[in-house]
Amino acid sequence: MLTAILVMAGIAILLGAVLGYAALRYKVEGDPLVEKIDAILPQTQCGQCGFPGCKPYATAIAKGEVDINKCPPGGEEGVKKLAELLGVEIKPLDAEPKPKSVAYIDENTCIGCTLCIQACPVDAILGAAKQMHTIIASECTGCELCVAPCPVDCISMVPLREDLPHWKWKYPVFKLKQAA
């Protein structure tokens, strides 16, 4: 009886020591789940989810504080992927996704106040105080964060035009003919 207890206790101590060592030796810095969620999010940094950027939203999702359907730029596809990753039900988006756009500064109206530059989360606006500003279109995520701060309303969102390098084959559909 006593031997058995001692053996079991010994094993428990040994395994505990191994686990304790492993926990220290293979400590994971940060939350890998946050990284995985962040990789799915579209990185527009637009704040439509109510968080100041994609990473904070990812962190909140990982903690289970917020729903997965708060990201309109990610679209239904994004919600689907998040649901798959987290093993939860797919929910419809709580806002309609807008067509992909980039910001455009009317350079005749711009007064060079730098407010939009300070608002841009990805540093996609070029300019300096009292100098004309312009958008680096290839870096713009279309977050619209620069539109509100502009005191002269010179920033507008221009939907992306379909051009040859961005054209996609459409889903094949059989065209129904109208009966005479």
Partner: protein
């Protein structure tokens, strides 16, 4: 005799080659307006180097190669640049792209042409010329030849000259080999020189016996060691991977190119253009185009790049009931607008009619007969790919090697349910590419956002440090004042204090005049008491100091 190998799958569609193969190549005609797209090859669009109003000569470079994967474009005839702008181009989307429009003057005046001494030149320099002379693969993919002629990553042991031309209706390579075999082989010799290939093999389908004979005769005349091999006419036997397997038995691994097995494949038209370019300095400004289908006189035309395809059809004889134009063959081609210009990729313009190309019957459900799997030359499972593409399950489609599909259309051809299978694969492929691009854009955005946060943090820290440093220097500055100066300051302060005290003392109380002796005695007493208290206060403080 070379041992031939059979690639999997393949079909035997009706050939329809006799319509256009009997007549010789028609000399080029100069249209009033040439519309020359700047993106005629895979990779980066060329950069325009002319302005509206410029006079250009035939063969003059009008668009410069931009980046590594690019090729130059040239004026196909002399005239004046009237517009640089968006114009409908030969593309399945029917969208517009940047084009240079030249109004021709009919003189067809050449620019100075400089032959290239390719034999005694550094291969890299020769490739530079190939790029600047606008040479790109004329078999259909229009990949810039300068890159394909660079054997840097993988040694090439076999150069294959592709005279397969397996698509129905098309005969441009057939006619080219019959009439201009010598120059085709001269081009192959340049390719062999640049690639350092040991063997050169020309594969020609056995339904082109005259082309085979002409090529053999040219090879004998040149004394060029090239094997002219007749290969069985099976569609898509002219595909790069298929002809490689037929001629060498080497199978190209999934996701790789034929160069990865040491074989480089060039279309005969590309070889011809390369010979013209390097031996005579003639850039790629024309190509042979089969104009066939629902026309009066189907024929091959030497066509200036930029000629509207509708004009080609008009030249060959419009017929009533033409329902549209296809660029390329019926298997892999796509519908184009008549105003779209012929480009380097245009091997055939096919006029459609209801009899020749009846509308595709309605798509019926897949019955899993696996006819498509038997026909697939890439050994894929088209019925599964169809299922995944239809369900937009792109990850699974990729797992089933969607990207090994060469879009030859064999599966759609044999499908008893008339499912446009290739359309589904194209849709899935372009969706996957778009997603890949989006992912890359997101990664860049994430990086930029993180850098911005880091920069803001750094700026905050730097500001704090700056303020701290400023405070430090202020503190440090005080004792560093010269001691003399300090003493002088101290002295001044002391003097000022003393003066103030003296002044205070000098001021006599105003109510001490005309007092009685009693009052004076009282004051003296109070004063003495005060002095006593002061004395006491001093004494009581002193011991506290020592505590």
């Amino acid at each position: 005799m070379r041992q031939l190998h059979q690639f999997p799958g393949g079909i035997h569609p009706e050939e329809h080659k006799a319509e256009s193969s009997a007549r010789p190549i028609h000399a080029p005609f100069i249209p009033n307006k040439l519309v020359i797209p700047l993106r005629q090859h895979i990779g980066h669009s060329a950069k325009p180097i002319v302005k509206v109003g410029d006079k250009v000569l035939k063969g003059q470079m009008i668009g410069q190669a931009d980046g590594y994967v690019s090729a130059a474009v040239h004026a196909s005839s002399s005239g004046v640049v009237t517009e640089i702008g968006f114009h409908p181009v030969a593309h399945p989307s029917g969208l517009s792209d940047l084009c240079i429009t030249i109004e021709t003057n009919g003189q067809d005046q050449w620019t100075d042409l400089q032959p290239v001494d390719w034999q005694n030149m550094d291969p890299a320099a020769v490739r530079g010329y190939v790029r600047d002379l606008g040479i790109a693969g004329l078999g259909g993919a229009v990949f810039p030849s300068s890159i394909k002629l660079d054997p840097k990553s993988q040694p090439v042991h076999t150069l294959i000259l592709n005279g397969g031309e397996c698509e129905p209706w098309i005969t441009c390579d057939d006619r080219l080999m019959r009439e201009r075999a010598l120059e085709v082989l001269q081009g192959a010799r340049i390719m062999q020189h640049l690639l350092n290939a040991q063997t050169v093999v020309a594969g020609i389908e056995d339904n082109k016996s005259e082309a085979i004979a002409a090529m053999q005769a040219a090879a004998d005349q040149l004394g060029f060691a090239v094997e002219i091999v007749a290969i069985p006419a099976i569609y898509p036997g002219g595909g790069g991977k298929q002809i490689t397997q037929t001629l060498t038995g080497l199978e190209t691994p999934s996701g790789k190119l034929s160069t990865d097995v040491g074989v480089q494949v060039f279309n005969v038209g590309t070889a011809y253009s390369l010979a013209r370019a390097l031996m005579h300095g003639v850039p790629l400004i024309s190509r042979i185009v089969t104009v066939t289908g629902h026309v009066l006189g189907a024929q091959n035309y030497e066509t200036l790049i930029g000629t509207p395809m509708g004009e080609l059809v008009t030249h060959a004889g419009d017929r009533e009931g033409t329902s549209g134009l296809i660029m390329g063959g019926p298997m892999m081609g796509f519908d184009v607008k008549p105003e779209a210009p012929a480009v380097k990729a245009t091997n055939c313009v096919l006029a459609k009619s209801a009899e020749l190309f009846p509308p595709r019957p309605r798509e019926l459900p897949c019955i899993r007969c696996t006819q498509c799997a038997i026909a697939c030359p890439a050994s894929l499972q088209p019925q599964d790919l169809y299922w995944f593409a239809r369900a937009k399950n792109f990850g699974k489609a990729q797992e089933y090697n969607l990207f090994d599909c060469i879009e030859c259309g064999c599966c759609s051809y044999v499908c008893p349910s008339h499912i446009p299978l290739v359309d589904y694969y194209r849709f899935a492929k372009s969706e996957i590419w778009a997603r890949e691009k989006e992912k890359q854009a997101a990664d860049i955005a994430r990086e930029r956002h993180e850098f911005r946060l880091f920069r803001q943090e750094r700026e905050k820290k730097e500001k704090a440090e700056r303020l701290a440093a400023k405070a430090q220097t202020k503190k440090a500055e005080a004792p560093t004042l010269g001691s003399d100066e300090q003493d002088a300051k101290k002295k001044m302060i002391e003097e000022a204090l003393a003066r103030a005290q003296a002044k205070k003392a000098a001021v006599a109380p105003k109510n001490t005049d005309n007092l009685t002796p009693e009052q004076q005695a009282e004051i003296a007493e109070i004063e003495s008491r005060r002095a006593k208290i002061r004395e006491m206060a001093k004494k009581t403080i002193e011991p506290e100091k020592h505590l």
